[in-house]
């Protein structure tokens, strides 16, 4: 049995504009998270999150520069 049938997954519906397309993916992915074991979705999500953090740790901003980008106080 395919993984789609096993977990009763829906197909991803293409959107007719960028916003619709993004929202369709949000719904599709939320459905995947809801219907699959935590370790299966988190393994995929962690690729995205861990790579951002390891990238940020390699290319460090100073707090001053970071807060300037954020338009937040620094002293």
């Amino acid at each position: 049995m395919s993984i789609k049938k096993l977990f009763k997954m829906k197909w991803l519906k293409p959107g007719n504009n960028n916003n619709r397309d993004r929202m369709n993916f949000v719904k599709y992915w939320a459905d995947y998270v809801r219907t699959h074991p935590d370790d299966l979705w988190s393994k995929q999500q962690n690729v995205l999150i861990d790579s951002q953090i390891s990238g940020a740790r390699r290319f460090k901003h100073s707090p001053k520069k970071y807060l300037k980008i954020k338009n937040e106080p620094y002293s």
């Binding site: 916003n19 993004r22 929202m23 993916f25 949000v26 719904k27 992915w29 939320a30 459905d31 998270v33 809801r34 074991p37 935590d38 370790d39 979705w41 988190s42 393994k43 995929q44 999500q45 962690n46 995205l48 999150i49 861990d50 951002q52 953090i53 390891s54 940020a56 740790r57 460090k60 901003h61 100073s62 707090p63 970071y66 807060l67 937040e72 106080p73 620094y74 002293s75």
Partner: protein, 192 residues
């Protein structure tokens, strides 16, 4: 993930660097004050396919002495405040309803954006929490209905609307839509 009871969710996810970062921070924070994690990280904790550089936390308002104890404990455990190293300024920012950011020393990302629960919505969020039991510890988050309402009717950016949709789809069998409408009215009154 499963609801153990109305206020507790068990999450068996593989913990990522962001999860580990916030859990370590919370271990120190909860020794000093009540807290609640709000906004984007709540959606990410539950699988939303996006990254973030910061995690928003509301804390119960602390007096200067208690905040000083928290700040010293954070410093002792290797954190620094990105906004200033002057404690009086940290207190003054928080007192002025601004958020201050903490990261591991010599890092800026990820960071925790800490704010006093200064208005009605924030104070209520501190009381209306869910416990998420992870493999590495407990995280107190704002209720799902409240998260959806704040993101959809207060923050309203594309990213926030997508976060709200993710939570709504994911928890569709558990959320109380009348509560979302109730929070919507409170938000609209606060904004009026």
């Amino acid at each position: 993930m499963e609801f153990i009871n109305k206020r507790t969710i068990k999450l068996d996810k593989i913990m990522n660097e962001l999860d580990k970062f916030i859990l370590e921070f919370i271990k120190i924070l909860e020794k000093h004050t009540d807290y609640v994690v709000v906004s984007g990280y709540v959606s990410i904790l539950f699988g939303r396919a996006r990254a973030t550089e910061d995690i928003d936390i509301l804390i119960k308002r602390l007096n200067k002495e208690k905040l000083s104890r928290l700040y010293n404990d954070l410093k002792k455990h290797g954190y620094w405040c990105l906004n200033t190293d002057n404690f009086n300024k940290i207190y003054s920012y928080l007192d002025d309803k601004l958020a201050v950011r903490f990261a591991l020393k010599n890092e800026t990302i990820p960071n925790v954006e800490v704010k006093f629960a200064n208005n009605r919505l924030a104070r209520e969020a501190l009381k209306d929490t869910l416990d998420v039991m992870t493999k590495l510890g407990k995280i107190k988050i704002s209720s799902i209905e409240r998260q959806i309402a704040v993101k959809r009717y207060y923050l309203k950016s594309d990213k926030d609307l997508e976060d709200a949709k993710h939570l709504e789809e994911l928890f569709k069998e558990h959320i109380d839509k009348s509560k979302i409408n109730e929070y919507k009215k409170i938000i609209q009154n606060e904004m009026a």
